[in-house]
């Protein structure tokens, strides 16, 4: 069966079983390996991508569920070779070690700011709680999200 989906701004026509996990399609078919396999069961957030601006765990999202949607992976965030402000904030705050969790974290954080541009501490914790970092970079992730939010607020025209 063929499914139409926009991935990082390009229309894609994907021939696959509609039940195939989106993660598998992204990694194995499209070569977009920024989304990681961590658990395969929706429990770690390593595979998070944006679907129409909201973070979902792609390992438990069947391909059919994104038909007609816009999927954004970490590879689709840079514009003209410039990091997305959230990527830059993670870099500036040193919010990564092995960084295997980082793409999912960044996309989860962008999803948060899409709905709550000025998140409270409680908002950040709630949005990011499903993302596991085995290296323990959480304190700096919180800092990075705050930094990105404040930069975004500063840039907004009054």
């Amino acid at each position: 069966m063929a499914i139409e989906v926009s991935v990082n701004g390009s229309p894609r026509h994907i021939e696959a079983d509609p039940d195939t996990p989106l993660l598998r399609v992204l990694r194995d078919t499209l070569g977009l390996t920024g989304a990681k396999y961590g658990c395969g069961e929706g429990l770690c957030g390593a595979c998070a991508v944006l679907v129409d601006g909201h973070a979902v765990n792609s390992c438990v999202t069947p391909l059919s569920a994104v038909a007609g949607s816009k999927v954004t992976t970490v590879e689709g965030l840079e514009t003209n070779g410039r990091l997305h402000p959230m990527q830059q904030a993670f870099l500036d705050k040193g919010a990564m070690q092995c960084a295997y969790c980082t793409p999912g974290m960044i996309l989860g954080a962008i999803s948060l700011l899409n709905t709550k541009p000025a998140p409270t501490e409680a908002d950040i914790v709630e949005a990011m709680d499903g993302h596991i970092c085995r290296c323990g970079t959480y304190p700096r992730i919180v800092d990075a999200i705050r930094l990105a939010a404040s930069r975004q607020a500063g840039n907004r025209p009054r």
């Binding site: 395969g40 070690q97 304190p139």
Partner: protein
């Protein structure tokens, strides 16, 4: 003899400054390729088939239906009829197919018959472990019985700390392409320079024919040194499929069962002391399991750090159970031994009615670094506001929230492993640094760049670091907090050697002897005289068409003499917790880590590593535990829902105090990966005892355990 010494603290321009990791852009952009991300033309996907039984004999195995499935390209058997399988997850076969789905379908078609044998998978009750227990004998020092009889107070306690798994976010595995007699190997490994030899031995191929590549790794924590049986199976699948590349990574459940774990420890401890808090005797009876191999614990480490308690009796047993084998787990043995020792010390303090901070400090004479521990305890107490917040055991405040403080201590070796580095200065001024090392996320690449940049007087982005290839000069595996010590020293030496050659070439142009030249601020100049200088680029042009290639080596055996790195650190952790005695939920308010650390090259990544270590200790204190089920012989929680790790909401505030001072700095680089992971579990358990007035014997401190300890006290 060239001068390799680290520049004096005050003169460093790059070392000691917080530098963002140089691979950060690639990592945050998603461009960083981990071995699990590697794809090659014609890639096959492989899965592992494992035993569902804790103990069984393989009777027969029939792969014909699996092999016949369209898309299946190779089947490799890893066990044979008659093989005895000693744990759930033991490897039976590996299957490669054009897609992972097909490989999984084929795995279901593999027909395996087992004769199920009796098993033991739990070790906490020694009386049920039967002949699986191997005593390691008594060791007695001094006269413990007399000391107990003559003491002012004796405390007794039981303690337990379970098996943990490493749970690296990137599972174990590799991509392998075996063409002719050459093997391309992309493993997820902590030892780029050594893992090829290991694979070669398993598959009888000379290591020189195996080319290891690894740019990024998603965690190792001590579990990823070997090529493993599944690495060998991956190679065989590639060979059997005519040299097609094969990707074989463990799924999460298999990863948690067979890819390594930290041994448990159970303990009965008795301690004696005087009224003033002086410890006079230690007696421990401990047992542990590291899986089918046995114990995995060196009981000589008891009592931890306070090694020289004069009267000691130590008894230990190893228990062999039917579960996957232990591997080094960040701070091997130390987390467990620290927990048991510090918990018993806190219990003794409570028994003697004195402040544990006083007891830990008073007995520092029993440690190998009395002054360092004393001063660290003082710093930690200050940061924790101990004087104000501490109270005798049992928070007497009204209500159901109880607050408490507790202490844990650590020690570690570290140092610098064997490492060889090649530095090339090109005539166009570019600089390449190559080592067969790896960056586990600790910031190794960045540290290498900083050392070279410091030496050449260049900015960090003025040098290019290449690691992750076995074709580079060999550098040690990353274990035991020895990487930064090793690679910084070899890089420093190679860079100084290269610079000396460059200065020799440039000297005539500046009309000066090479010894009178220095590299600073992007220039080569006569010492202290910027007027007589050349830019780095102009200086390198003097090389004509021949680049400079120089090497440097750190040899761990003799490194201490050179002063670039050394080993041996101390550290103290203090936890501040609040416990809800109605729900049993423990909340961490703060975890404070004061860490002695030697010379810190990059405080930004060092601090991040210490944060991470603290968080890992929080996981171990409050959440993580491998749970085995004696009825079925299986692990009950081989997934990330029930094998719990701390999330962003679970960690409270973490305060890291890297104890940087000139007298520590002059010891050179020591390494920081392990020590801050060690004391946190003890500190948190002690803080909970201080809060609720009773010891919860077993970690992690789950609500159920907290409530049952409270119930037992009121019963």
């Amino acid at each position: 003899m060239p001068d390799y010494h680290w520049p004096p603290m005050a003169q460093r321009r790059v070392i000691g400054k917080p530098v963002s990791r140089i691979d950060g852009p690639a990592k945050s952009a998603g461009r960083a390729k981990y071995s699990m991300d590697i794809s090659r033309p014609g890639l096959l996907h492989a899965v592992l088939v494992t035993s569902p039984h804790a103990h069984a004999r393989l009777k027969s195995i029939d792969a014909s239906a699996a092999q016949a499935l369209p898309g299946v390209k190779a089947v490799h058997l890893m066990a044979n009829p008659g093989s005895e399988l000693q744990w759930e997850g033991a490897e039976i076969a590996a299957i490669a197919a054009t897609t992972e789905e097909i490989a999984r379908d084929a795995a279901r078609k593999l027909v395996v018959e087992y004769e199920v044998l009796p098993w033991v998978v739990r070790e906490e009750d020694l009386s049920k472990a039967g002949d699986r227990v191997k005593p390691s004998g008594d060791q007695t020092t001094g006269d413990p019985d007399k000391a107990f009889a003559e003491s002012d107070g004796v405390s007794e306690g039981t303690y337990g700390i379970p098996v943990l798994t490493h749970c690296c976010l990137e599972a174990h595995g590799a991509v392998i392409e075996w063409k002719g007699n050459s093997i391309e190997y992309w493993p997820s490994t902590q030892g780029v320079s050594s893992v090829g030899d290991d694979l070669g031995q398993q598959i009888s191929v000379p290591a020189t024919n195996i080319h290891v590549h690894m740019d990024y790794i998603g965690g190792g924590f001590g579990s990823k040194f070997a090529s493993d049986t599944w690495g060998a199976a991956c190679a065989q699948l590639s060979k059997k499929s005519g040299g097609r590349p094969v990707k074989l990574f463990l799924d999460r459940a298999t990863e948690l069962k067979i890819a390594g774990n930290r041994p448990s420890v159970f303990a009965k401890v008795k301690m004696a002391g005087k009224k003033d808090g002086t410890i006079t005797a230690w007696q421990s009876e401990t047992w542990s399991t590291g899986g089918f191999g046995g114990g995995g614990l060196n009981a000589d480490l008891f009592p931890y750090v306070y090694r020289n308690v004069p009267n000691r009796r130590i008894k230990h047993s190893a228990v062999r159970i039917n579960a996957g084998s232990a591997r080094a787990w960040r701070g091997p043995m130390h987390t467990q031994v620290s927990f048991v020792t510090c918990a018993a010390m806190e219990d003794l303090a409570a028994r003697l009615n004195i402040d544990p901070m006083e007891l830990f400090a008073k007995n520092a004479g029993y440690t190998h670094k009395p002054d360092v521990y004393r001063s660290q305890l003082e710093i930690a107490a200050g940061l924790a506001n101990w004087k104000t917040l501490w109270h005798p055991r049992g928070d007497s405040a009204k209500g159901h929230m109880k607050r408490g403080l507790g202490i844990g201590v650590n020690t570690w070796g570290g140092g610098g492993h064997d490492s060889h580095c090649r530095v090339t200065i090109h005539p166009d001024g570019s600089v390449d640094i190559e080592l067969g090392s790896q960056d586990l996320g600790t910031g190794t690449r960045t540290v290498i760049a900083m050392v070279a940049a410091e030496t050449f007087g260049l900015p960090v982005n003025g040098v290019r670091v290449r690691i992750g290839q076995s074709s580079y000069l060999s550098s040690g595996a990353s274990g035991g907090s020895t990487t930064v010590g090793g690679v910084s020293s070899s890089t420093r030496k190679a860079a100084v050697n290269a610079l000396d050659e460059l200065l020799a070439k440039v000297g005539p142009a500046l009309g000066a002897e090479p010894v009178d030249l220095e590299a600073t601020g992007g220039r080569i100049q006569v010492k202290g005289n910027p007027a007589k200088s050349l830019t780095w680029k102009a200086a390198c042009q003097k090389l004509g068409v021949s680049p400079i290639s120089a090497q440097g080596s750190n040899v761990s055996r003799t490194a201490a003499r050179e002063g670039l790195n050394s080993s041996g650190v101390a550290g103290v952790q203090v936890a501040d917790v609040s416990v809800d005695i109605e729900t049993g939920i423990v909340r961490l308010n703060r975890l404070i880590a004061v860490q002695d650390c030697g010379l810190i090259i990059n405080p930004k990544t060092a601090e991040s590593q210490a944060f991470g270590a603290c968080i890992m200790s929080i996981c171990g204190a409050l959440y993580e535990e491998r749970i085995m089920d004696q009825a079925t012989g299986r692990m009950l929680n081989p997934d990330m829902e029930f094998y719990k790790l701390a999330g962003i909401d679970d960690i409270g505030e973490i305060i890291v105090h890297l104890d940087i001072r000139p007298e520590h700095d002059k010891r050179g680089v020591i390494g920081l990966g392990e020590p801050p992971v060690i004391g946190g579990i003890a500190a948190i358990s002690n803080a909970v005892a201080n809060a609720i007035g009773v010891r919860v014997p077993m970690v992690p401190l789950t609500p159920r355990r907290v409530l049952s300890a409270l119930e037992e006290r009121s019963a």
